[in-house]
Amino acid sequence: MNDIEKTAGDPGENPRENLGENPGGYSTPPAGPEAIKAIPVRHYGRYVSALVAIAILVATVYAFSQGDINWHAVPDYFFDHRIITGVYKTLLLTVLSMLIGITGGIVLAIMRLSKNPVTSSIAWFYIWFFRGTPVLVQLFLWFNLGLVFHYINLMPIYKDYWSNFMTPLLTALLGLGLNEAAYMAEICRAGLLAVDEGQTEAAHALGMSHSRTLRRVIIPQAMRVIVPPTGNEVINMLKTTSLVAAVQYPELFRYAQDIGQNSGAPVEMYFLAAAWYLIMTSVLSVGQYYIERYYARGSSRQLPPTPWQKVRANMFSLGRPKGAVSA
């Protein structure tokens, strides 16, 4: 920096005093050679591929609009109270089973990394089982566990038949949550392992205990690695909840099916459900972006801009050549 300014030709002045302002001779662009104005290369291939893609898109949309589908049924039922209840229950299932999954995942990850061979092999076994079997099969297993346990008897607190205890909601939550815990465990483990060992040493050298080191130093840093895949898991979970229609729990997909059968517009209701799932996953993606941004603090010199900041930067840069404004 200083070297450049010195060569800029102001040997008399101290260049440090000029930092921030425009040092002498830089207020106008130097009268150098003329800027290049050349004819850009034409990329004909791009025009062709764009045309082909648009043609296919138009043809598909046209086919759907001409198909044997009663599109009016979709807006008619879009805000039907059963659909709204279904949306609510889908969200509830997603949130609750992700909570079970994340809590279980953290516990399993810590168990996996523990020095105790028994806890770490139990965690390994759990992950092996729940990742190795389809979630639909697990849901049916939970639903029918009454064949093994006829009663549930938590002596002074609660006693009932298994079939009364294992409601469709509980089946759904356990099935989805416990399966999710196995996946979250691997995500959390990767996150914990990604934190530099020097961090643990520094915390220990300051006299922090294992658990405090984990809570204050390791987990907050692991979150940066854990959050992006967890966001994907939430979005996956939202879609996977449609499976619990099979164990009699009424959520969005099941209500859509019911309405479809009663109103004689089954396919239309599938489109309706798809639209609702899309809306929900889109909202979740935006939320994920902000959470990732929060946990990125300290890891990069500058936080990535929010979408709104990007829009504003783009508006200000309109009319200027690209690259002149660093967004």
Partner: protein
């Protein structure tokens, strides 16, 4: 700053226990013996420099002092107390993790790679241990942390994250973080080795200032100039043993052993 009297030119206070005492300390990693019987003493208020080629075991020895590494044989005492164990009769009992942690509070450590907590600002890094470990109030800890950052010349960087600081600045924050626990002993593990040459001076200035305030310091370093000017004792280690020890001026200018001579001829 530790409430101790400032250092005098004379011998340390009479009847004082050595701050660090090592007797035949051995340490192996698997089959590799890294420390082969280290004997040395660090007096209170002293700046004790450890030099030697890489792989000589000096960093490992430093890490044994606050029990980041377990020793395999010998005895290691800090301020008269055994490190990592409790002796009853002729039996040794391992200390619980919480007891080890308690003892580490009194020993500050500065690492080669700084190891600041990247998700906290400079100020939060310095406040963390007093609040979390000592239970200091946030207001108190903040005030003290600001004083310490002032002392290392970084009060204006309090709100910066480590990634926004230069290496030299990070290392000075790391020193402030260690000082926040009011340690009676400071360990420095090659504190300037990861720094650009022009940033080394700032860190050494802070360490010199700390030495003048009477802090007991054990410094693993390649900065022979610092060792000569600030050090009170110096030990040259090679292949897990102490080859030569004495006053830095004597050892550095007039080394007796051939191994010391050949090492110094390469680094000076």
């Amino acid at each position: 700053m530790t409430g101790k009297l400032s250092k005098t030119e004379d011998a340390p206070p009479e009847g004082s226990v050595p701050m660090v005492r090592a007797q035949g300390v051995h340490k192996s990693f698997g089959h590799v013996e890294v420390l082969k019987g280290i004997d040395l003493e660090v007096k209170p208020g002293e700046v004790f420099c450890l030099i030697g080629p890489s792989g000589s075991g000096k960093s490992t020895f430093l890490r044994c002092i606050n029990h980041l590494e377990k020793i395999n044989a010998g005895r290691l005492y800090v301020d008269g107390e055994l490190v990592g164990y409790r002796q009853k009769g002729d039996k040794l009992y391992e200390l619980k993790d919480s007891e080890v942690a308690r003892k580490r509070r009194d020993i500050g450590m500065v690492f080669q790679r700084f190891n600041l907590f990247p998700h906290m600002t400079a100020l939060e890094n310095v406040m963390e241990a007093p609040v979390q470990v000592k239970g200091a109030s946030r207001t108190q800890a903040r005030e003290r942390a600001m004083q310490l950052l002032e002392r290392v010349g970084l009060a204006d960087r309090a709100g910066h994250y480590p990634s926004q600081l230069s290496g030299g600045q990070q290392q000075r924050v790391a020193i402030a973080r260690a000082l926040a626990m009011d340690p009676k002993l400071m360990l420095f593990d090659e504190p300037t080795s990861a720094l650009d040459p022009e940033l080394v001076g700032d860190v050494l200035d802070v360490m010199r200032d700390l030495a003048e305030s009477g802090m007991t310091m054990v410094v693993v370093t390649h900065e022979m100039g610092f060792a000569r000017e600030v050090g009170d004792s110096l030990v040259f280690m090679d292949e897990g043993v102490v080859v030569e020890s004495g006053h830095p001026r004597d050892v550095l200018t007039n080394p007796q052993h051939q191994r010391t001579q050949s090492f110094l001829s390469k680094v000076l």
